[in-house]
Amino acid sequence: MDELLDQFLIEGRELVADAQSHLAALTADPSDAAHIDGAFRAFHTLKGSVGLFDMAPAGRVLHAGEDLLEQARAGRHPLDGGRVAMLIETIDQIDRWIEAIESIGRLPDDAGGIAATLVAQLDRTAAPAEPAAVDEPEPTAWLQDLVDSTAAIIGADERPMLAFRYRPDAQCFFRGDDPLRIATAVPDLVALRVMPRHHWPALDEIAPFECHLVVEGISAADADAVRSAFLTVGDEVAIVPVPRRVQEAGATNGNARSLRIDEHRIDALADDVGELTLVGNALAHLSADAGRLDGELGARLRQVQAAFERNLASLHRNVTAVRMVSLAPTLRRLPRMVREIAAELGRAVSFTIEGERSEVDKAIADMLFEPLLHLVRNAIDHGVEAPEIRRAAGKPEQGAVTLSVRRDGENVMLDLSDDGAGMDADRIRAAAIDRGVIDAATADGVDNVALFQLVFAPGFSTARSVTSVSGRGVGMDAVKTAVEAVGGTVSIASERGRGTTTTLRLPLSAITTRLLLVRAGGSCYAVPFNAILETAIIATDAIVPIGAGQAFVLRDRTVPVIDLAAVLGAQAGAADRHRLLVVDTRGDRVALIVDGFGAPIEAMVRPPAKLLAGFPGIGGTTVLGDGQVLLVLDPAKLVA
């Protein structure tokens, strides 16, 4: 995909999330200057970003929103709850449009109409333009632009500053004005720029006595001194203080020290570390071999190998650390979803996120959104009651859904709570029996805590009516599968009439194992890389019977050969060449015949489930990205 677009999809989302969090804060206090500033900056930057793409309706909507925030910022027209809600609706729409750009590469056909409606609504709530601003459609968008473009010049200068914009009349030369003479005489001039009022005319089209320029500048002098410099042309000049926060934002933008790196590069780095693990395994064996021939050489090789392992471990930790990302961008997408779901279901819901600062492995941040969205849907659809029912139950009409995030050792815990109806134990018991999730005799002996966990069982759903929101065929079992695939757990607690809390416990870093997929006897298996010494392809007749078994010679050493399919009780394939996986079984080499090699993968290996526990040679199971469950072989046990 286009690199510029890729960048926009990342940064655009961040800006949307940024705007949303400022607007969420403004919902509580519409006069908070810091958040007004923050929201304004996000709108302004977004407007600039969407301008690079075919998103004109988005630009118009953002411009109208920016105007509203600008008026609040200048203190001309304070925000109120209604206007903040309008702005939230605006930014939610931008979010949807960014999604559309990502999925279908363009804005939907109705974008123009939606934009017109939003702009009209925003304009209606805006203050009427001041007389002085008639000739100036963007009163202080220029200020932001000026501050942005002079950030490098202003730098770390912390003096309070004034910005001026001097728009001389086209006929001013005839009146004897010399605008640059006036502007350059402003005391303590920090920065200056001269721009065409619209665009520069061609040299052969310009009337030499017509003024076409605008002068903008920043001065560290006080307001009286700056004003007196423009005394004779006061009505053509706007002088405004440079907002402190904007100044700071400009300064930090200029000195950003972090890099944005394509995640595939990090994955490639992690892959290389995996390859090095293989080299390390081989080196360990080599030093053991060498030690048998020459003790001193073996000892020296072992030292080198130990140093290699230490450095490799450190490299692994560092690569893991690079993959740690904040949960905030994932979580900040939720409030908009909550608003949409609540609106669709006719529920009044307030949604709060507490403590979103935790950092987790990127793989976990990436997988988290879908399960959380499902849980949030459930909380609103099955948890929070309709307003009239809540009123009758003596609860506030607006339901509260809270997501709290906290760190617990090497785990991050996410609690999603609602203050809704809670779970009905009898109904769940009946449904579980009815759907064959549990038999009637067992169900009677199960307490509520254990009973509630049954909602995560495959095929369990007690929704009375299928709504477009919850009834998507993705049950709570999908949540459980996704969470367990990264080594997490999910549990649920509920109190009748008081609400439900679902808890996700996720590891901070995905503890993955590098696995090689192999085919044998018509099935696919995974083998941990750290057990593999090498792979080889040999002619069938290179394998010779030795005693009861068979073997082949690999670099002057006889290696026993075992047919993996036969060991696993499947039909051994016939071929004139064999693919061999040479594995380490407690110091001895054994070659396993396989039908073929698949791709290397990084995955969580879970201990074998009870059913498999008695079966030797199975080290555990792993879930592939597509939900397929694979058996992970433990070669040492397999051939024991």
Binding site: S149, L180, I206, P208
Partner: protein
Amino acid sequence: MSVVVNGDVVRLVGRCRVEDAETLHAALLQHPGLAVDLHDCTSLHTALVQLLLIATPPLRDPPQDAMLARWLVPLLETGGGPFEPGPVSL
């Protein structure tokens, strides 16, 4: 005369007032690509600066006059800025 076309260079000399804009305009149109010498210029009206910003001729020799040079040189070099004016010398 404040605007002098002299061989391969347009020289701006002394105090260049608004009325010199027409002469400079004609000179820039007649001799496109000719360099502009500001060495002896002591003040330059906005109307002339505007023409230099539009025509962007090659510049030769900055003004000796420090008060003029402190803003005119960076302004023309950056094609309008933003720029940081040089220090005010007293």
